[in-house]
């Protein structure tokens, strides 16, 4: 079975925020909620890199592990989704997530947060009928059910953001790395090469 993954090629991302806008428009997410964002590191200095980040659909998802009402589930495609009918807006998934993916429509005194909202990999929610009015209202479009990939990646002007089966995404990226013969932006470089700067 395929495992759906996002990958953002930091060599290609130009911080156009097209993915952010596309996502907001496609899913009609509430004001103040951004399922995806672009973070620019070392902004304005040599070596600047931009990365588009949303829910990374972790295999061992911390949000799912800490949720007190156990509202998260992983689909057969490896997409981490949640059930807004169960969510109580406690904020634990926001504490646990390394990427800051879980967002809340409200942020008021006495812990009033509303139901959590996050990237669904354009796969909707647990509603029985795909792309029903209810599902669209709660989770946005279900493009996966239509056989399409997430809109953020489809819209990416430089094809920096890749989405789809993890194996295929990895193949595309590996090809790119070989073609541009750049160093892979991997960790553990020092360990492998035993060189310290």
């Amino acid at each position: 079975m395929a495992r759906m993954k996002f990958l953002c090629d930091s060599e290609r991302c130009i911080e156009c925020n097209g993915c952010v806008t596309a996502c907001k428009n496609e899913h009609e997410v509430p004001w103040g909620v951004n399922r995806r964002r672009v973070v620019t590191l070392d902004d304005g200095v040599p070596g600047e890199r931009s990365i588009s980040v949303a829910c990374m659909h972790c295999t061992d998802a911390p949000c799912a592990a800490v949720c007190p009402v156990d509202c998260f589930y992983t689909t057969d495609d490896g997409i981490v989704l949640h059930d807004k009918d169960l969510c109580i807006g406690c904020g634990y998934c926001f504490y646990a997530c390394p990427f800051g993916a879980p967002q809340y429509p409200q942020k008021e005194a006495f812990g009033v947060r509303g139901k959590m909202d996050k990237c669904t990999f354009c796969a909707g929610g647990p509603e029985g009928k795909d792309n029903s009015e209810e599902e669209r209202h709660k989770y946005g479009r279900n493009r996966i059910a239509e056989g399409k990939l997430p809109l953020c990646a489809e819209m990416c002007s430089t094809k920096a953001l890749l989405a789809g089966d993890g194996d295929m995404v990895a193949d595309i990226y590996r090809e790119r790395v070989l073609k541009r013969s750049g160093r892979p932006q991997t960790w553990g470089w020092d360990t492998a090469y035993q060189e310290k700067s």
Partner: protein, 353 residues
Amino acid sequence: MSDAQATEGKRARRFKAMLWSIVVIAVGSMTLPLAGYLYTAAVQAQEQAAGDAANPRSEYWREVRGGMAGYTAVVGQETDVLIQSRGQVWREIRGGPVATLGAILVLGVILAVLTFHFTKGGAKLEHRTGKKVLRWSALDRVLHWYNATLFIILAITGMSMLWGRAVLIPVLGKEGFAAYAAFAKPVHDYLALFFAVGLIVIVLKWFKRNIWASYDKEWLKNLGGSFNGTHPPAGFANAGEKLYFWALVITGTGIVVSGFYMLFPNLGFTREAMQNANVIHGISSLVIIAFACGHIYLGTAGTEGALEGMWTGEVDEGWAKQHHGLWLEEVKKQGAAPAREGDASGTSATASA
């Protein structure tokens, strides 16, 4: 060779030597200062070679992993941080030691209480005199039951947030538990404020009665006489009650302060602050819940005649003599009619509060 010729040659050589010295000095004075440049250039070249050998990006991503902030156009809580890895630490600590040791602690205290009750048994009232002594004023009783009710509600709703998934979901089902949790969470959040106020009032009002005294050591040494049947000295509050009070002060502070961090997401506390607050909140609450289990037992089934004091305000003189001998003596010294006048320490505490 003539003498004149020899002196001529000598002079020529001297001149030559002088000329060369001047040239050497001139060239040297011009080139030597440049050696500094040469040195720095060499060092730079060396550094360049070393720099080329290592991947400049290797530390870059490690810094990002460590929570380095960048720039983002999206406005929101810590949106400029790409990776915040403390959440994993929080997850491991909350789901590991806090939940596990907390469960062992609370259930262990309940087990210890049950075992004690069924083997040794609680303290019986040895001699009921029928004479009453006022122990708790109406205000004390109202404060106690106000805090007790809130404490139990907050403890139950709080523990369902921690263990509900493991314990209640198999019983109620996901929908059932979510319906309960959606109700329990706001209840916990709003009642917390009332509990915090009650806690502060109760701590201030009962502060004086719970100051450690020299004879409290003996009470602790005998474990209150629960096992050896003695009646160690105790004032208005015995050493056990004082311990419970101070535990309440310490954990209560932790609970209220950490709760504040989690209760107001609108104030923009960082995720790390909220993670730490959650762990402190959990540990403090579980410790005081364990204490409270002991307190509830000792105040009801564990000590005959104790509950009527908190219910009617008056205790039997026999009970007072058995459990709070020093206090009874003091009450008797204070006035001939102690039954209706209230106790000395109680009034002084009221005055201070």
